[in-house]
């Protein structure tokens, strides 16, 4: 996202407004809503294509987590970088990816971000700073620390965000990476999207601490808990962490509490959570509904504006899927391409 331009209401009123209304223009906020819809519809589109047998493999949908992806990425500049997870479509879009190249990837086409080699679990957009989703839980965390080391050594001013889930916080890689980032005061932000479960295993059954943010103390870095379904809260925490990182003060751990509406992946019998729990999150805490209502309350958008966004998004998705369908498949003779760097 571009550097924020400030809205300019009366100073007194402004001070009481939630963070985002002080920090971003109405146009920027409408764009955020647009992108949150884009993520949601992308996931739904991908799901439908999967059901219809157009996409193979498996996928992990981030429906319900859109405010978290958008809130974290909002304060980032284009050259800032992220590492993402198996549940990475939202992060990818939030960091600026084009949905048509994402669909093309899922369809295994040469026009996809990974030329059909990576698929959903490795979706990346290096030009926009997305160093890639990762099929290995917590695999991207030390990689993000390495990218932050590059930023510090090469003085690029870049900040790196590492997204990961609650399940990932019990991996050794989490521990080792956070420790090194803190010792070396690197410009990296650790974002734990706690959706309550690692696959079927609840944080209560897997994690010996109530809030994952409490683990930040073990690495002498700030640990911040936000409601991951409220865009403003997430964006504000991210903003502070980015400032801290850019100022050379080191890393932050943000725990963004959220929920995934869908099953873990396409093979989930959903036996570990109740219908009521899911229903509650969908009806009462949907991040898009919450944000849309708020924008309407603040007079930043009206029903027609929302409708226009929805239509634009629907078009973008339809076009993206068409692009993917129309794109060429890789030639099987190229099966060993990209294993090594081709001589120039």
């Amino acid at each position: 996202m571009a550097a924020p331009k400030r809205a300019q209401p009366e100073a007194a009123v402004r001070a009481n407004l939630p963070f985002i209304y002080r920090e971003y223009s109405p146009e920027q906020l409408r764009q955020v809503l647009h992108k949150m819809y884009l993520i949601r519809r992308f996931e739904e589109g991908a799901e439908e294509c999967y059901m219809r047998g157009l996409i193979h493999g498996t996928m992990h949908l981030s429906i319900g987590q859109e405010a978290s992806a958008m809130g974290i990425c909002m304060p980032l500049a284009e050259h800032d970088q992220i590492t993402s997870t198996h549940r990475g479509h939202g992060h990818c879009i939030a960091k600026g990816a084009e949905v048509k190249k994402m669909f093309a990837e899922f369809f295994g086409k040469t026009t996809g971000y990974c030329k059909g080699r990576g698929g959903s679990m490795h979706i990346a957009d290096v030009a926009k700073g997305n160093l890639g989703a990762n099929g290995i839980v917590a695999g991207g965390i030390p990689i993000a620390v390495g990218a932050a080391l590059s930023a510090k050594r090469m003085k690029t001013g870049k900040v790196v965000v590492s997204f990961f889930g609650d399940g990932a916080n019990n991996e050794g890689a989490f521990h080792e990476a956070l420790n090194m980032a803190s010792v070396w005061k690197l410009p990296v932000i650790f974002v734990c999207e706690n959706n309550g479960y690692g696959m079927s295993t609840s944080t209560e059954r897997s994690t010996a601490v109530k809030n994952i943010a409490e683990r930040a103390a073990a690495y002498s870095m700030p640990g911040v808990i936000v409601n991951g379904n409220i865009f403003s809260e997430v964006a504000e925490a991210s903003h502070r962490a980015v400032e801290r990182a850019r100022a050379g003060e080191g890393p932050t751990l943000i725990e963004s509490k959220t929920y995934r509406h869908r099953g873990h992946s396409k093979s989930d019998r959903n036996r570990y959570r109740t219908k009521e729990e899911i229903e509650d999150w969908m009806s009462n805490r949907d991040p898009i509904t919450l944000f849309e209502n708020e924008l309407q309350e603040f007079g930043i958008i009206d029903r027609e504006g929302v409708e226009a966004i929805r239509e634009a998004v629907a078009r973008e998705i339809a076009e993206g899927i068409q692009f993917a369908k129309d794109s060429p498949s890789p030639d099987v003779r190229d099966v060993e391409n990209y294993v090594y760097t081709e001589p120039a």
């Binding site: 493999g57 295994g108 086409k109 698929g119 290995i136 019990n170 991996e171 079927s200 099966v335």
Partner: protein, 332 residues
């Protein structure tokens, strides 16, 4: 084949073995990620948690290294853990405990302990899960003294070899091809074991021996049918155990057929075929060879996502047929 024998899927056969072992021996328990209420990523543990409770069908946090270490420690102190990696690729996180601890503990301690540990590794490509979820790494563990490494290819063997593994005093690593989980086959009821370290001749033949592992056994059998129509009589040996390898069965077969093709899914270079070929060269069977040993292994690439590319990275039936034909007709 006994008509009374039921058909079970490979996954069901494994599940039955685990259930039998847990019933018979209270030291046996299962550990892994999402093996409880979820039933395991491939539904291998299924509903066992309902029968045996969460203490014996233990969900672990996502902590492969630590989890493997817990299994090693439990095995050293009287329990008999059966540890499931959700995908064999994640065992890369636990190689330390597998290779430095489980494999060497008895040796390092001069025989003072045993490590009766079983680890299960869902492996292989074909599910569209791309490079980090599709590897075949059995050759790594086959290179490690102290471990036993098996690759059952049928539901019958999956059950019998798992039961043998659980009863084995030493660490046994089981590579299960994910595409086999749904394959059905006859599985006797009750307790039986299939010995670790014994290959099995799946089809007798005179013209050519194919040594195959895991899912490639089935592809080799399919290829053999076609080849039979062409007048090429293929013997198919299911290797079953990577370490310790059943050299005698392979040698005998090669002495009979004079030709050997080794088919496996893992990356060709330094895969199991290298060992089979080198072993034959060092054996008495060498002098019986009418043609050099040929390997058909995976391409020298990570597994790609695109389904056509994915298929192209591992041997398929037509590849086996072509290689067999080439060997017998002497056009290599």
């Amino acid at each position: 084949m006994d008509a009374m024998v039921r058909e079970l899927s490979y996954a069901q056969a494994i599940q039955e073995a685990m259930a039998l072992a847990m019933e018979a021996d209270e030291r046996v328990f299962l550990m892994g990620e999402d093996i409880g209420v979820y039933g395991g990523a491939f539904q291998v543990t299924g509903d066992l948690v309902e029968r045996f409770g969460a203490e014996r069908v233990m969900d672990t946090p996502i902590s492969e290294l630590g989890g493997a270490g817990v299994a090693v420690g439990a095995a050293m102190t009287g329990m008999r853990p059966v540890f499931e990696f959700q995908f064999s690729d994640f065992a890369t996180l636990a190689m330390e405990q597998i290779v430095n601890q489980a494999a060497k503990m008895r040796f390092m301690l001069g025989g003072e302990v045993s490590v009766p540990l079983v680890m299960r590794f869902p492996a292989g490509s074909g599910t569209g899960a791309a490079a980090q979820h599709s590897q075949s790494l059995e050759a790594w563990l086959g290179h490690v003294p102290g471990l036993k490494v098996i690759q059952p290819a049928t539901p019958h063997d999956a059950k019998g070899m798992l039961l043998a593994a659980i009863e084995d005093p030493d660490p046994v690593m089981i590579f299960e091809h994910k595409l086999l989980y749904k394959m059905k086959g006859p599985v006797p009821e009750g307790h039986y074991t299939v010995p670790i370290g014994k290959a099995e001749i799946r089809r007798e033949g005179r013209d050519l021996t194919i040594v195959a592992t895991s899912i490639m056994v089935h592809k080799a059998l399919e290829a053999a049918e076609t080849l039979e129509a062409e007048g090429i009589d293929v013997e198919v040996v299911d290797l079953r155990t990577i370490r310790p390898m059943d050299k005698a069965t392979i040698i005998e077969s090669v002495k009979k057929t004079s030709r050997l093709l080794c088919v496996y899914e893992a990356v060709k270079t330094l895969g199991i075929g290298a060992e089979v070929s080198a072993m034959i060269a060092e054996s008495e069977a060498f002098d019986y060879l009418d043609a050099p040993v040929v390997r058909l292994g995976g391409a020298e690439t990570p597994i790609p996502y695109n389904p056509e590319l994915e298929k192209a990275t591992v041997p398929q039936v037509p590849d086996i047929i072509a290689a067999a034909r080439g060997l017998v007709q002497g056009t290599r």
